[in-house]
């Protein structure tokens, strides 16, 4: 912990609160988390722990700007400028810039786009950064091969793929860039043991390269293989007070 303070953090979450107000249910307010504070330095893998429904995925989604926060700040180091930018302030353009260059997210489920092939889904984040299409596609092919996706599937849209195949496309897409902060929501949930081991190796390579990872892993062997620290999200739960 003392060591963590010496190194420049890549992500600082401070005093974040979140609740949902359900206007269609008579305005009922559902508190989720409060006083969420932690930081991530390069090369560490922080795992969000705690039972289902405690707010782990909500924290990941807030850190990606997908959920708004009620209060607090989420500072992410901008890969381009080196400055910390507050993603929690909700400026869409700040969030989009951070997502392109600084913070990546592998969701639990792939949101397939009609008619877009698996290899193009994977290459897209590189192309968005200005990498030449041919080079990006070649890299995407390498990623998918490494994850043992059959080459016959590369040119097909993932809509009809199995759960494990979709998840590997999702992982390849999330790992293809060198975002300094990577958010992983159960990346190995629907994978067999062999592919799970490959993902563990890929996570370790990212960590060795200085990426900071924040993740949810219910799979205990995976968690033990990659976690450098576990945060018990129950400590932030706002439900007990409600």
């Amino acid at each position: 912990m003392i060591k963590a303070l010496d190194i420049e953090p890549l992500l600082c979450v401070d005093g974040v609160r979140k609740s949902f107000t359900m206007h269609l249910r008579g305005g009922i307010r559902l508190p989720v988390v409060e006083h969420v504070s932690f930081r991530l330095v390069p090369g560490e893998c922080v795992v969000l722990g705690g039972p289902s429904g405690v707010g782990k995925s909500s924290i990941l989604r807030m850190v990606y700007g997908n959920y708004a926060v009620d209060g607090g700040s989420i500072l992410v180091r901008d890969r381009v400028s080196g400055e910390m930018a507050d993603l929690a302030a909700g400026d869409p353009r700040v969030i989009l810039d951070l997502r392109r260059d600084s913070i990546g997210y592998v969701s639990q489920f792939l949101r397939a786009v009609p008619r877009v092939s698996a290899i193009d889904v994977v290459a897209e984040p590189l192309i968005a950064r200005g990498v030449d299409r041919t080079a990006a596609t070649a890299k995407a092919g390498e990623m998918l091969e490494r994850l043992h996706l059959p080459p016959a599937l590369f040119s097909l849209p993932p809509a009809t793929f199995s759960g494990g195949e979709k998840q590997r496309v999702n992982i390849a897409r999330g790992f293809i860039t060198d975002h300094p902060v990577l958010l992983l929501d159960e990346p190995t949930a629907s994978l067999d043991a062999a592919n799970r081991d490959i993902v563990v190796t890929m996570i370790r390579e990212k960590l060795a390269g200085g990426t900071a990872i924040l993740g949810i892993f219910h799979d205990i062997p995976v968690r033990e293989a990659v976690a450098t620290r576990i945060i018990d999200v129950s400590a932030f739960s706002a439900r007990k007070a409600a």
Binding site: H23, G90, P92, R93
Partner: protein, 258 residues
């Protein structure tokens, strides 16, 4: 993304007598950005689109556009020549009904070529070649170049309308329910085409739609309208996954699976 907006709307209002079409509308569009305007029928989204594209007089407010030379005038202060340049070259407008944006009784090639002639292209061979290239980009066989759009299916007509709009290399495209009248499989093809062209050409787009799936697929930012006013705006996935306003929550809850 560049720091200066290409389009800036402030305090815009349009009244029809005492009735409010839209009011208190303020937002910016930045280069390369797709902004979706969503809301139910009668929410004022098409009135708003028509005002900001210079097709309908506004009652109050400012609409500024970044000209190619960097000036940022209000549309009301443009000369007639500048206005014509925007309409014919620098802007595109994709209508829900392709018949509103095409000339149905001239050939597909002429529909595309006409916009080129309007910007001064005169060489027949070049015009035909460019038209052929654009038909192929929107997945219409070059052999159909001499056919009239009346002989085309709805999806083909919509793709032709897109080609006609993009041939002059516009910087800003307005779209009014571009996939509204198409069946689902055709819709997916048109959407995919739009998504690719917008990304490849770095276009700025303002798209009006009542279909949240279309907004999710194409846009980075979303504006939700109800009764002529903006009730919520923000990053598209944030608005759809964590909607705050009661009306947005109702919209999101009303679709089977977003």
């Amino acid at each position: 993304m560049s720091a200066a907006p290409i389009l800036s709307v402030a305090g815009l209002e349009r009244r029809y007598g005492h009735f409010i079409g839209c009011t208190d509308i303020s937002f910016d569009v930045f280069p390369g950005e797709v902004v979706a305007i969503v809301g139910e029928s009668g929410s004022g989204k098409t009135t708003l689109l028509n005002c900001i594209s210079g097709r309908l007089e506004r009652s109050a407010g400012e609409i500024r556009y970044r000209m190619r030379d960097g000036r940022f005038p209000d549309l009301a202060d443009l000369t007639e020549a500048e206005r014509r340049f925007l309409m014919r070259t620098d802007w595109g407008f994709v209508h829900q009904n392709p018949a509103d944006g095409l000339r149905m009784r001239v050939s597909a090639g002429a529909n595309v070529g006409e916009r080129l002639m309007a910007v001064g292209e005169r060489h027949y061979g070049n015009i035909r070649q460019t038209a052929t290239d654009w038909l192929e980009r929107v997945e219409i066989a070059a052999a159909r170049i001499d056919d009239q759009p009346v002989a085309f299916s709805g999806g083909m007509r919509q793709r032709l309308q897109i080609a006609r709009n993009l041939v002059t290399h516009p910087r800003l495209i307005f779209m009014d329910e571009p996939t509204g009248g198409l069946d689902v499989s055709v819709q997916a093809r048109v959407l995919d085409l739009l998504r690719m062209l917008v990304a490849d050409l770095g276009l700025s787009v303002v798209i009006v739609t009542h279909d949240l799936a279309v907004a999710r697929l194409l846009s980075q930012r979303m504006i939700v309208m109800k009764s002529g006013r903006i009730v919520e705006q923000g990053l598209t996935d944030r608005v759809l996954d964590d909607p705050h306003h009661p009306y947005t929550q109702l919209l999101v809850a009303s679709i089977p699976e977003s």
